[in-house]
């Protein structure tokens, strides 16, 4: 096929946009069950436009199909037919086929669409033909559309006579078209009558081309005004605009610094420059944002197809279509979302008979919802299917030898569920056996984590599962930790960061040990391989065993010296203080400690890609400008681990030595954060409920009415005190306190606590009777002390139910 490639490519792109618009309309129609004349017009116009160029480009397959769809839509538009389920289905199928055809345009002409075309024609033939017994009302419809009087509302019916009176010159158009329609209807319903063919055939051919154009103009004139206008802009121009806006911000900052605040005129000019610049930057940022609905809408088709294929009844609901995300992220989440939606339909939702047996409503439901929360976008994929069976997961994990029995026994429920994200868990046989999920869940996880998102999963057996994706608003800005090694500062993306460890005095040189050629640290029963950033930067070659043992040896020498000095100083009565900082980083399933000189705190950074001359360096994932204007490199945890030849040294060896904990007596190993709130009561919260802990000054807490707030990262955050909800001792209000920010909160709030005691895995035997109150899970003996386990979510509900907004 000889076509100009540029034109073809443009046509395909445009047609896809039209088709996605068409799909959206069908989704709307299926959701509301209502068909507005406007939406039919939109459908007609979209299909017509696709048809228009298809013929011109020699895409006869697409041309024929769209033509048939168009005829049917035309009948609908002119009220000769009314929308039925069947018609909708047929048209949707047509749209799906068109989508496929555009995927492989070169072969689109070979695709067999005759069955659908016959169906469409058949549906259309049930419409009263315009030239049938009652010609007046039937013909009335095409006339106003063709008439160059766009002011007339499309629904408004006029008789042909009226129109013809007004526009006598139209008379010539009406007849051939009627003939054409009649001819089409006739051939569709009964291919037999060959006799009248010769005459109407040319008329049909003629009418196929010119009248629709006239109609299209008319439609556009009436509808055009309420349509938003779009403009295609090259991404690089937008990028440049964004960069210029960034420069403008810096110029503005300089101007602010140097302008004379005493001069009133100048000050007001400076202020308007300030506000305009800010607005400009925000607007340009928004150009990259697109509503997530564009991605969501395609899943209605996926679900429809799947439910048909699987013989299940599935309702598909989307929420928060209008939530906007960076274009790059939208493109990247398509695949993981498809995976998750397919999983939900395939393994989550049960067959109709099973649902009935379980006493559930029959159409199962898959919900996709998007919403903003604490500077991130959350996307939940929820189904009300059968949920996941823990025992099956346990069995499968053991079968696959991914974990040992001991390890499983010590896992919490949530940890157990998350095992399905393990690579290797997902092989074909496993999926169907395991109560559900598992198809490439590790692929989903790595896919989402690649652009700084996270995945978590909750599931209640018999009630359904929810997968939560947390995505950054934009790829360009990421929260990160700024650290220093030597004179240089580096940024570590927060996604790679697990925790920070500071060792003081004696610990600084005793706790890091040597294991073979490597340095390791015992972090809560696991061996953490250590990486020295300074050494990694100093050596350009990848570390081999020799280099590692050399570095390890040198550092153990240094440690010995430090130990000697420390001892000397201590004996002399002038103790020296040492400290050693390291960040625990995760890259894939590998964890390691990165030893750095200083920790500066966290900063939101704008990621700039590496220049191609230095792109091959694995250590960095980009560069950024810090608040003080200096450039800092962004460290890449994966590259760093590879460069330092980090291997998983824990290998489960340490774990297996641990004595087995029995689950039978209700003991569970839980990861807890222990704290106190003045007095000697000890409290604990689940680590997984805690997002982060900040040190705050009590002086910074502001009071409004009876509520207290503190500003963190520019966000006013509600302060909740333990004593507000529980009958416990009040805090003595020291100068410095800690602020605990929960993980799943729709509104910014946090728990003010006085002292952090410890964190780690503890064996918890929950006692629910000894201390009962809302907001409390129960009590347990931890570190030989009675500890009240606080349920953060309940506590927040308790303190301010309305305000907290009810997280599911």
């Amino acid at each position: 096929m000889e076509t100009d490639n540029d034109i073809l490519a443009e046509y395909i792109e445009e047609s896809r946009e039209h088709l996605s618009h068409v799909e959206q309309i069908f989704v709307e129609i299926q959701k509301t069950g209502e068909v507005s004349p406007g939406s039919i017009n939109d459908l007609f116009r979209a299909i017509h436009t696709i048809k228009g160029s298809a013929g011109f480009l020699g895409l006869t397959g697409i041309g024929t199909l769209t033509h048939t769809m168009e005829s049917l839509l035309d009948s609908l538009r002119e009220n000769r037919l009314s929308m039925t389920e069947q018609i909708t289905e047929a048209l949707i199928e047509g749209t799906d086929i068109l989508n496929d055809m555009f995927d492989d345009v070169d072969n689109s002409n070979n695709r067999d669409t005759s069955e659908l075309i016959a169906l469409l024609k058949n549906l259309n033939s049930s419409a009263p033909a315009p030239a049938a017994p009652k010609p007046a009302p039937a013909a009335a419809a095409p006339a106003p559309a063709a008439a160059p009087a766009p002011a007339a509302a499309p629904e408004e019916k006029r008789s042909v006579a009226d129109v013809l009176n007004q526009f006598p010159e139209l008379a010539q158009y009406v007849t051939p078209e009627q003939q054409a329609e009649a001819a089409k209807a006739a051939t569709a319903s009964a291919p037999a009558p060959a006799a009248p063919a010769p005459a109407p055939a040319p008329a049909a051919a003629a009418s196929a081309a010119p009248p629709p154009t006239a109609k299209k103009d008319a439609v556009q004139a009436t509808e055009g005004s309420k349509h938003e206008e779009f403009l295609r802009i090259r991404v690089d121009i937008l990028d440049r605009l964004m960069m210029l806006a960034g420069e403008l911000v810096l110029v503005r900052n300089q101007q602010l610094m140097h302008s004379d605040q005493a001069d009133a005129t100048l000050r007001s000019i400076t202020q308007s420059l300030d506000s305009v610049t800010t607005e400009l930057q925000e607007t340009i940022m928004r150009t990259r944002m697109q509503p997530i609905g564009t991605v969501f809408s395609r899943f209605s088709r996926v679900v429809r197809e799947l439910s048909r294929k699987l013989g299940k009844n599935i309702d598909f609901v989307t929420e928060g279509d209008e939530v906007e995300l960076d274009k790059n992220i939208l493109e990247a989440i398509g695949d993981p979302l498809t995976h998750l939606v397919r999983n939900a339909c395939d393994h989550g939702i049960e067959r109709p008979e099973d649902r009935k047996a379980a006493g559930k409503t029959d159409p199962g439901r898959v919900t996709l919802s998007a919403y903003h929360e604490s500077g991130q976008i959350h996307v939940d994929i929820k189904d009300n299917g059968k949920g996941m069976n823990r025992d099956v997961i346990r069995r499968k994990v053991l079968e696959k030898k991914l974990k040992t029995e001991d390890e499983l026994a010590r896992m919490s429920e949530a940890d157990l569920l998350n095992l399905i994200f393990l690579p290797g868990f997902s092989t074909a046989q496993v999926i169907t056996d395991v109560s559900g999920r598992g198809v490439g869940m590790d692929v989903v996880k790595t896919g989402v984590e690649k652009f700084g998102g996270t995945v978590s999963l909750t599931s209640v057996e018999g009630e359904g599962s929810t997968v939560k994706l947390r995505l950054p608003l934009t790829l360009a800005i990421i929260p990160s930790l700024i650290v220093q090694s030597g004179n240089e500062r580096f940024a570590i993306p927060q996604v790679n960061l697990e925790e920070l460890v500071c060792l003081y005095d004696k610990d600084a040189f005793t706790r890091v040990e040597c294991a073979g050629a490597r340095e390791v640290f015992r972090l809560r029963d696991t061996l953490l391989p250590m990486v020295r950033l300074k050494e990694a930067l100093a050596r350009e070659k990848m570390f081999d065993e020799d280099a590692l043992s050399m570095v390890t040896e040198q550092n153990s020498e240094i440690r010995k010296e430090l130990a000697d000095k420390y001892k000397e100083a201590e004996e002399a009565g002038h103790p020296i203080h040492y400290s050693l900082n390291f960040a625990v980083l995760r890259s894939g399933n590998l964890r390691f400690g990165l030893i750095i000189d200083h920790i500066h705190g966290s900063e939101e950074i704008v990621v700039k890609p590496m220049h191609r001359a230095v792109k091959s360096i694995a250590l960095y994932s980009g560069a950024t400008v810090l608040g003080d204007g200096k450039v800092a490199m962004i460290l890449d945890a994966t590259g760093l681990a590879r460069h330092y030849n980090v291997r998983d040294v824990s290998g489960g060896r340490e774990d297996t030595k641990k004595q087995k904990t029995t689950m039978d007596d209700g003991t569970e190993l839980r990861s807890l954060l222990l704290f106190s709130n003045g007095g000697n009561e000890q409290f604990g919260v689940s680590m997984q409920d805690v997002k982060r802990v900040e040190a705050v000054e009590t002086a910074a807490i502001e009071k409004i009415g009876s509520q207290e707030y503190i500003t963190l990262d520019g966000v006013s955050t509600r302060v909740v005190r333990l004593e507000d909800g529980l009958r416990v001792q009040s805090s003595s209000q020291p100068e410095n306190m800690f602020f605990l920010i929960p993980q799943n909160a729709r509104k910014p709030y946090g728990l003010l606590i006085e002292k952090l005691i410890d964190s780690g895995h503890y064996e918890v035997k929950l006692n629910k009777d000894s201390y009962q109150a809302d907001g409390v899970e129960g009590t347990a003996l931890i570190k030989k002390k009675m500890t009240v386990l606080v349920n953060l979510e309940q506590l927040m509900h308790l303190v301010d139910g309305m305000w907290y907004g009810g997280q599911v």
């Binding site: 960069m243 960034g246 004179n487 191609r612 792109k615 360096i617 200096k630």
Partner: protein
């Protein structure tokens, strides 16, 4: 396309050269290629980068690569700049992409007659100074222009990052 083709042909016209010193030698680049000259710029070193890459600088929010020509020409590394500050000549977009070079000292703007720039490739019988620079690869040195007191080495900024362009991921 590049100015060496068009401009050297148009003999008699004058070129404005932005001159600077490196290792006691005088260099010049077409002033039309220069965006600005920055003194005391913080250069962030990029560890593991090729030796002729000094690091990154921030020019009003834009992160630019800084090249160390001393390394390219094989000069003695008088003061090795591993980070710290330095004087940087920043080139414009017109040179394919903006970037900077680290120099010892920024000198005057000099007008030279096009015809007085001797193409090192054209004349084998040039001075020792030129021979020395013959080692400089990739046509970075366009030619030599004798000034009143010394020789000015004319550089073509477009070729400085050239070797990275030829390698792999060239921007399409």
């Amino acid at each position: 396309m590049s100015y060496e083709d068009t401009d050297t042909a148009a003999a008699g016209s004058t070129l404005q050269m932005c001159t600077f010193r490196m290792a006691n030698r005088l260099f010049g680049v077409n002033i039309l290629d220069v965006k600005e000259v920055n003194e005391n710029t913080n250069v962030t070193p990029i560890y593991h980068a090729p030796p002729d890459i000094c690091g990154y600088i921030n020019i009003r929010g834009q992160i630019l690569l800084v090249v160390n020509l001393r390394e390219t020409f094989g000069f003695d590394q008088g003061h090795k700049v591993a980070g710290g500050t330095g004087k940087v000549v920043v080139f414009k977009h017109s040179v394919d992409e903006p970037f900077g070079i680290l120099v010892d000292e920024v000198c005057d703007v000099v007008s030279v007659d096009q015809s007085r720039i001797v193409d090192r490739r054209a004349n084998e019988m040039t001075s020792d100074a030129v021979k020395e620079f013959r080692r400089a690869k990739d046509g970075i040195v366009m030619g030599v222009c004798p000034l009143e007191r010394e020789l000015l080495l004319v550089l073509n900024a477009r070729h400085i990052l050239g070797k990275y362009n030829s390698k792999a991921d060239k921007v399409a």
